[in-house]
Subunit: 410 residues, 2 copies
């Protein structure tokens, strides 16, 4: 596919409803120049799948780059067909008249390098063998993701980036943008993120990777597209999903509600119709106390695991969690965060959420304190929510107002 | 083995050092009477493996029952041989002159019903078939555990229980003791616990169970002793272990320290000597970016997973986590906690720990508030630690002082 962001005859989006981005189409950008990754390996070429909303202005300086999180992709707003039931993952934030206003901004979002939604990653064919890269894919870093995005922006004719914006791993990329391309990047907005992946977060990622790598279907990463360690990937996702929520939000959403009329204190034997949700195991032997779904939260988690394996690749999960675990700005740039932030010219806004225990407020605040100590324009906002890490993705008029004001401010 | 707690000629313990419980020997109590479990199934007989320290006094009213947590056992103090490097799991709290003073108290600790350390559980032979119960074992509840312990105390000649004492699932048992045996139980000391397993805690248990049940070696719980789903059980343990610690303690203990001289931001390929720690997978193919240990926390978690599978049974893990998930005192006794606590006569002390995010302080405080509303003698202490849920097991002079004072007070 060709890019047409600058082609006035080809609208970037077709609105289905006023106030919505509407119908959008993903495009592929292929960089034919070799790309040297941080681990020393060289990709002879790579592709990024991306979407754009709004139009690049004549000065080519109204672009906003949206960076996605671990399990996200390039489809952050609009719909792909009128039959789509769910719009892109940040549709609540992005659109005409919304906080990231596509009437004013040219919004770009690309699936990360190493991803599995159309960008080059471990599932892509290795030109050396014609088979999927698997573990021969380079150990991509957050910096590699950002440097590959720069090529896309150059290709699109973007002269200056009005803002790099993202939450969680998207926030890591946004911060890396400010450091790597100080003269290109006017503003950075990072939410629910960290300047340094901590031990607990690494530990959760490690358990997820183990679940994948111990699944016999992983086979050292050598499996056909659509195959692979589905059981291990579902386990990894179920666990990670808990870390995106909060105790309070889970208690409100599920509490101890059961999937059938109230069970006694001792959970009852298997519910046959729910057993179907459990991936890959057949009916329990008759007369046994099976361990099937009793509580709504169990059914919900199993559903999360199952739907994830239908849209995500296990090797990409390994690669991206490793990129996240490797993220440590201070260590990567001289030893202190102030040193890391020394080149930054962008104005920065960091938003933490009180109930986020994966990247808690302290870790978000620390970023701003270091930027301020380094003499930069940086501000911090902390939003009181009880929705956990995922707060940045959810409906929040307070967040919308912050984002809008930050993007519109000169 | 026969019990000899009342036999003056056979010392319950041999001291290896003054101030220590010293050499101890586990014993087995077998109840030959049928035992009806809460799920309606009947065990024709059952065995509890237990240890005792100190002596039962003439009035037979100085017994302290220690209740263990999910992965604990009957061996809570002393050593089994002079070659033992590690004493029982609560040796810091229990011994002559210690907070639970075996010079004054007759301390009893039994592996729970459903356990795998000598008590009757899914690994035990089903008299009906001669093969391990597996999933034919009853769906034991916390109440079943407590009712089976009562038979042991009766057998030992205990006339009154001075205190039922435990943390985490041990705290649940202690609370259940106060409700089920109000005229037998003088005091209850529950730590780092809850009156009602919440959605987040159920969710983590569910992921652990899925990891076990999706392991092909689980085979619906039908596996020989020593076999079974080792990979799944290790995954479950690694994940659960994170919930026992805190972000702060993990950061202090491991931070981002690597197992080799500092790695670049992008983790380096496999370290061959560490790969041995990864359960069950062979050398990565040459020339690939393997996903082996980079950070100390990864190595630590893998070790935790591996050592657990050598001492624990996967079906017991399923059964005990289900008993925990089923724990909801209010729902089990009429609808409110005040109703549940109505029969209680014991004085109660509940201890919460500020950094415990598995059973956070609020959940501990809620128990005491309900007891107080029900007109009971109940007090709450909150200890400031940053060691997470496991705080109750760790060295803490503050905790020792609280426990000592509570046990000695009339």
């Amino acid at each position: 596919m060709n890019d047409a962001a600058l082609d006035d005859d080809l609208p970037a989006t077709t609105l289905a409803d006023p106030g919505e981005v509407g119908l959008v189409e993903p495009r592929d950008f292929t960089s034919a120049e070799p790309f040297a990754c941080d681990d020393g390996r060289v990709l002879p070429a790579f592709t990024l799948r991306y979407e754009t909303y709004g139009r690049l202005n004549a000065a080519r300086d109204n672009a906003v780059l949206v960076c996605h999180a671990l399990s996200g992709d390039h489809h952050c707003a609009g719909i792909h067909s009128l039959a789509d039931k769910k719009p892109g993952w940040w549709n609540n934030l992005i659109g005409p008249g919304k906080a990231v206003d596509t009437n004013h901004h040219f919004v770009i979002c690309a699936n990360v390098l190493g991803g599995c939604q159309g960008s080059t990653g471990p599932l892509s064919p290795d030109p050396a063998t014609g088979r999927p890269y698997g573990l021969a894919f380079p150990a991509v870093t957050i910096r590699d993701m950002v440097r590959s995005q720069k090529r896309l922006l150059d290709h699109l004719g973007v002269k200056r980036l009005r803002c790099a914006l993202g939450g969680s791993m998207g926030g890591m990329q946004a911060l890396q943008w400010a450091i790597e391309y100080p003269d290109f990047c006017d503003k950075v907005l990072a939410m629910a993120t960290t300047a340094r992946e901590g031990a607990q977060a690494i530990a959760f990622n490690e358990v997820g990777r183990q679940a994948i790598m111990q699944d016999p279907d992983w086979n050292h990463g050598d499996y056909p597209k659509g195959g692979g360690p589905r059981v291990g990937l579902a386990i990894a996702r179920m666990m990670a999903h808990i870390t995106y929520l909060s105790d309070a939000s889970m208690d409100r959403k599920f509490g101890r509600r059961t999937v059938k009329p109230r069970l006694p204190a001792a959970p009852a034997p298997a519910l046959a119709e729910e057993a179907a949700l459990a991936p890959g195991h057949a009916e329990p032997p008759p007369g046994t106390a099976a361990f099937d779904v009793s509580f709504e939260v169990q059914s919900y988690l199993r559903y999360q695991g199952q739907s994830f394996i239908n849209r995500f690749d296990a090797n990409t999960y390994l690669y991206i969690t490793r990129a996240i675990d490797g993220f440590d700005l201070a260590a990567s740039y001289g030893g202190t965060l102030e040193q890391a932030f020394a080149p930054v010219k962008a104005r920065t806004l960091v938003v933490g959420f009180t109930s986020d225990w994966l990247f808690p407020p302290e870790q978000n605040r620390e970023i701003v304190l270091a930027l301020q100590r380094a003499g930069k324009h940086a501000s911090y906002a902390e939003l009181a929510t009880d929705l956990g890490h995922d707060s940045f993705l959810l409906e929040s008029p307070e967040l919308y107002a912050l984002v809008r004001a930050f993007l519109e401010r000169d």
